[in-house]
């Protein structure tokens, strides 16, 4: 079954402003071009805790799952 893009888009709303800003840029720039496989990786990444996610995006903590690396890379691109 294909992943609902609208649901994933909504789940990019986070608890921390830093992440909201990062995701706003990502949604504008990258989101519509994601393949089904990338969307599945993103959905998986979105289950992370917000502080851990922000730490991975800003590079203060290494990406803890290879599957997330591509998405973390896109999110961190200024």
């Amino acid at each position: 079954m294909s992943i609902d893009r609208g649901r994933v888009r909504w789940q990019c709303r986070r608890a921390l402003l830093e992440l909201d800003l990062v995701f706003a840029r990502f949604l504008e720039r990258d989101f519509d071009r994601l393949t089904e496989g990338q969307l599945a990786d993103l959905e998986d990444l979105l289950r992370c805790e917000d502080h851990d996610l922000w730490a991975m995006v800003n590079g203060s903590k290494p990406c803890s799952d290879d599957r997330w690396k591509e998405m973390i890379g896109l999110l961190g691109q200024p």
């Binding site: 893009r5 609208g6 921390l16 830093e18 800003l21 805790e49 502080h51």
Partner: protein, 597 residues
């Protein structure tokens, strides 16, 4: 249209700290409890709270609730209600120890007690010396609190409706609150949540400002719903600002940057703080720095094409110092300002952080409004807690670590009040009026059918810019007056927003339009209340109410020692007295004095 109906003993809107604490009280007492939340509970904005939670445990230094109460009343600039403040400070130890028992991983002292650290504004012996009163879990206190409460709620069988947005409060002809209408994002369907008790715990509305530290979810949904249903909003002119948020983004740049030698500069590169605070310069207190920045911008000495911000310069520090001492700040500047602070200064502006006002409640968490001569008559069936509520414990200015305490104490208290009323049979499921869902359905139909309207983004941006310029951290009579007119114009435009995406499911555009409906009510309440209050008090600082011998800090207790109540209907204001009398006989009222530190 046929609208599905669900029935509960209690419905709670919002699953941050206050909502989860209230839900726990109800579920553990056996009440059938529903919690509605736009996002997964542990992604509520409580997660962002780092500082800690205040409690006079006295684990690190001698402490007691009397001192905490004094600090809170003084911090509030005497606008806080002393009965609610006494209640909160006396309950602090109990709610913190409870949280410890729920598994909250507090930092520990060597002998195993909860470790406590000092925090601004908290003192020993009525302002004499700093006290260690803040209990924290590293720098993730809010996060840890939310997880502990969520797990406990799962155990207690609280029923969560995740990714549901509450739309409107349901009241009957007598004003009783009977529940809410809500939309499930996955289907776009509207349901009625019919309940004996309705608790709002929807958080603040910091997104009314262009520069805000708040996450995007903080759209004041509970305040909008309450205002549309005829409930007044209290003390909405009082917003806490932080001087250095990244311009255009809002992310905080900690005071530590100025501590390391960061310098604020205006459009001509001048170190302007030398003029405002010759001794402390860039290290002056938050309010002094914020006011100086605003004055520079308002007088045309700002930076950038619109001269609408100033610069925080650390380029004179060595790259090694920046990398070593301020690594997080460098990353924030690169990400959100597009500058590497090693090479170029960071654009900053004073940034909205916390909403002191809200839905008026008493210390029991009951929503109150004037009725038949009683300024604080409970609204039957309606309760509120946390940042969306105004108990009022923060008055005109909140102390750090008192917000997490507020949501624990008043979340629990609202829950306890509902349980007590339930047990003595005072809560009943009153019949729903036939038109219970009509207002919500009409709002959705309007959005559905709107043509030739404006984009939500454009109208929202205009609101946020207007609020930032006209009702920011330092306020001017002419700007406030002009701002009221402008916000009322924006409110008219908000009635005609149009969304291009009309799909039913997971429609983020529709959500944002509904959120704007709530934000605009908060914006109106804020600017109308601020224009009317002709004094300076706490976080509300007016240029035309300066510090004089007659009015210390610009505060005028003869005329303005009172709470503002804003009503959406007619955009009208009323006032009610501040409760200066504590709850018990065990403490004397904290007498009025000038707020100095």
């Amino acid at each position: 249209m046929n609208v599905a109906k669900r029935t509960f003993d209690a419905v709670i809107v919002g699953a941050g700290g206050a909502g989860l604490r209230a839900a726990l009280q109800l579920s553990e007492s056996g009440l059938k409890t529903a919690v509605l939340t736009k996002v997964f509970p542990t992604r509520s904005h409580t997660v962002a709270a780092q500082g800690g939670v205040a409690a006079s445990l006295g684990n690190s230094t001698e402490d007691n609730w009397h001192w905490h109460m004094y600090d809170t009343v003084k911090g509030s600039d005497w606008l806080g209600d002393q009965d609610a403040i006494e209640f909160m400070c006396r309950k602090a130890n109990e709610v913190v120890v409870e949280l410890e028992h729920y598994g909250m991983p507090f930092d520990r002292t060597d002998n195993g007690k909860i470790y406590q650290r000092p925090f601004g504004g908290h003192s020993q012996n009525y302002g004499q010396s700093p006290v260690s009163r803040s209990c924290a879990a590293a720098d993730r206190t809010g996060h840890a609190m939310l997880h502990a409460l969520y797990q406990r709620n799962v155990r207690a069988n609280t029923q969560f409706f995740v990714e549901w947005m509450a739309l409107d409060l349901i009241r009957d002809a007598d004003g009783n609150v009977l529940g809410v209408t809500a939309m499930e994002l996955e289907t776009g369907e509207v349901s009625i949540f019919h309940a004996k008790a309705t608790i709002f715990a929807t958080g603040g509305a910091g997104r009314i400002f262009h520069s805000s530290t708040n996450a995007f979810i903080n759209t004041g949904d509970g305040l909008g719903m309450a205002a549309r249903a005829g409930v007044p909003l209290e003390d909405m002119e009082f917003w806490q600002f932080h001087p250095t948020g990244v311009f255009g983004a809002g992310v905080l740049i900690t005071e530590g940057v100025r501590g390391e030698g960061g310098i604020l500069r205006n459009g001509s590169g001048e170190r302007f703080m030398e003029r405002y605070a010759p001794n402390l310069k860039d290290l002056a207190s938050r309010d002094v720095v914020s006011r100086a920045m605003t004055t520079e911008i308002n007088e045309g000495r700002g930076c950038g094409p619109d001269k609408d911000h100033v610069l925080l310069d650390i380029t004179h520090l060595s790259p090694e110092t920046i990398m070593k001492r301020l690594p997080g700040i460098r990353e924030i500047a690169i990400q959100f300002a597009g500058v590497d602070p090693i090479k170029a200064p960071i654009p900053v502006v004073p940034t909205a952080h916390y909403q002191m006002g809200g839905i008026p409640t008493n210390y029991k968490g009951q929503v109150v409004a004037p009725k038949d001569g009683n300024p604080n008559a409970p609204v039957s069936g309606f309760y509120a807690a946390g940042e969306c509520a105004c108990a009022s414990v923060h008055g005109a200015n909140r102390l750090g670590t008192n917000s997490l305490l507020d949501l624990l104490v008043f979340g629990k208290s609202a829950g306890e009040t509902v349980v007590e009323d339930y047990k003595r049979g005072a809560l009943e499921l009153k019949p729903l009026p036939a038109d219970a869902a009509d207002a919500s359905l009409a709002r959705l139909a309007r959005l559905e059918g709107q043509t030739g309207g404006e984009s939500v983004h454009e109208v929202g941006l205009e609101m946020r810019r207007t609020m930032q310029k006209h009702a920011g951290v330092f306020r001017f009579d002419n700007l406030l007056k002009e701002g009221v007119t402008r916000i009322l114009e924006v409110a008219e435009r908000a009635k005609r927003t149009e969304i291009k995406d009309k799909s039913k499911v997971w429609n983020t555009a529709r959500m944002e339009a509904l959120e704007l409906d709530n934000l605009i009510e908060v914006a109106k309440a804020t600017i109308v209340s601020a224009e009317a209050r002709k004094e300076s008090r706490g976080a509300h600082v007016r240029d035309d109410a300066p510090d004089t011998a007659e009015f210390p800090n610009g505060r005028n207790d003869n005329e303005w020692l009172k709470h503002t109540l804003w009503y959406r209907d007619g955009n009208r204001l009323e006032y009610k007295p501040v409760t200066m009398k504590p709850l018990s006989q065990e403490v004397e009222p904290i007498a009025l004095a000038k707020r100095t530190y």
